[in-house]
Amino acid sequence: MAEKGTYRVKSGLAEMLKGGVIMDVTTAEQAKIAEAAGAVAVMALERVPADIRAQGGVARMADPGKVKEIQNAVSIPVMAKVRIGHFAEAQVLESLEVDYIDESEVLTPADPQYHIDKWAFTVPFVCGARNLGEAARRIAEGAAMIRTKGEPGTGNVIEAVKHMRLMNEQIRTVIAAPEEEVMSLAKEMGAPYQILRMIRELKRLPVVNFAAGGIATPADAAMMMQLGCDGIFVGSGVFKSGDPEKRARAIVEATTHYDDPMVVARVSEGLGEAMVGISIDEIPPHEMMQVR
């Protein structure tokens, strides 16, 4: 008897992506560039986060035609984004057989209160988190992979660093706490008790945790890997830069050899213009994506 869509099968694909880079792409051509650069997966979307931020308006799931075009262009897994809570967009993407769905704060949320019940799907989900409470809630809802939210489309790594450090600190707290304090921690963090119990047992998150939201350079990727994340999402960082092919390749190499500064130095040389970054202080509070 074969079983599809089990949690092991869902989280298993994320395990296979570890140590790799997942790149945002908006065309088949970009997807091919990403694959040729060594990306482990691509994220198909209509506009990269930097453009969503600049253009404003409601950002939605990509056109299914575009998703298919990208699926046909590459053999690596293809992910796609849905709005937070928009289970019908998720049903559409599942019917297209995308390999992973990102329930993402980069798009305009569809539900002000609730996330998607991800257990209801065969296709696995990745969700963003700023802290352990958010990560644990998404896992309890069925997410099989977590990523930091960072602040998408900024080319500024500070928020991803903040979220990764906070998650690490909270995981350490949960592991070190005496048994009788776990329930109280669950209450404080807004984290489901059972998930915290799993974290204590495994001494880490029960799923893979990637870094996302603001990674623009090989050194950014190396830093996030050294902070303990399992892999890297690059949104606008590649195709908003001067030489996407070279930069994509460099970020892939820096992610593999994150603990070897000589390699990071070598690949960082002569990359051309990085994407123009945004200082977080310049973003009006209502335009912050991570609070969604």
């Binding site: 092991r8 296979m16 790799g20 482990v40 053999s75 057989e97 593999t256």
Partner: protein
């Protein structure tokens, strides 16, 4: 005896964990010269295109040399693709350590990924097997033994010291397949001593 796990990308820590539970020393191999320190190499699941690009021609060349000398390899999923002598839809193989043809993503996209139990020759009748966007073996060369099948597709094979599987024993708690591979490695080491 130290077993290497190719650590360029993919399910590296799972293989390390399975080997550690069997009391074996492991080395995560990220640089080509580290291959000299190990008596066998596991190529984990991951993305074969990415792993080959990251490793580059220097890595592949060294792996090909080792394969010629009968070095023991175990490749799971992407690792199997890297070891195969022929890949459907691709002009050149990567390492070519085992005479098989493989079809990539033959089990389909992720929604078709599944887990089941399999009868594996020389291992057991109830081996848990997790298939993730799995490749299948579509041709077996002379001297290659099929060790497991799923719905008429060969999903595990061996040629001398090279073992490959479409599925991921490292995602389960069952250690029998890793033990089977360790037996191959130990046997080879003994032959070397003679």
């Amino acid at each position: 005896m130290k077993i290497g796990v190719l650590g360029l990308q993919g399910a590296v820590r799972e293989h390390v964990r399975s080997l550690s539970r069997l009391g074996v020393d492991t080395l995560i191999v990220k640089r080509v010269e580290q291959l000299d320190e190990v008596s066998a190499l596991i190529l984990p699941g991951g993305e074969s295109t990415a792993i080959s690009l990251i490793g580059g021609e220097t890595f592949l060349k060294r792996l090909r040399e080792l394969a010629k000398g009968g070095f023991p390899f175990f490749g799971t999923c992407a690792g199997m693709i890297l070891l195969a002598s022929e890949i459907e839809g691709r002009a050149e193989p990567y390492v070519g350590a085992i005479d098989i043809t493989v079809a990539r993503n033959a089990s389909g996209r992720q929604v078709h990924s599944f887990e089941t139990t399999l009868k594996v020759e020389g291992v057991g009748d109830d081996v848990p097997a997790v298939f993730i966007r799995a490749p299948y073996i579509t041709r077996l060369g002379d001297g290659v033994d099929a060790l497991a099948e799923y719905q008429g597709h060969v999903v595990m094979a061996r040629e001398r010291n090279v073992l490959v599987s479409s599925f991921h024993p490292e995602l389960t708690d069952d250690l029998r397949i890793h033990e089977y591979f360790l037996n191959i490695v130990e046997k080879r080491n003994q032959e070397d001593l003679k």
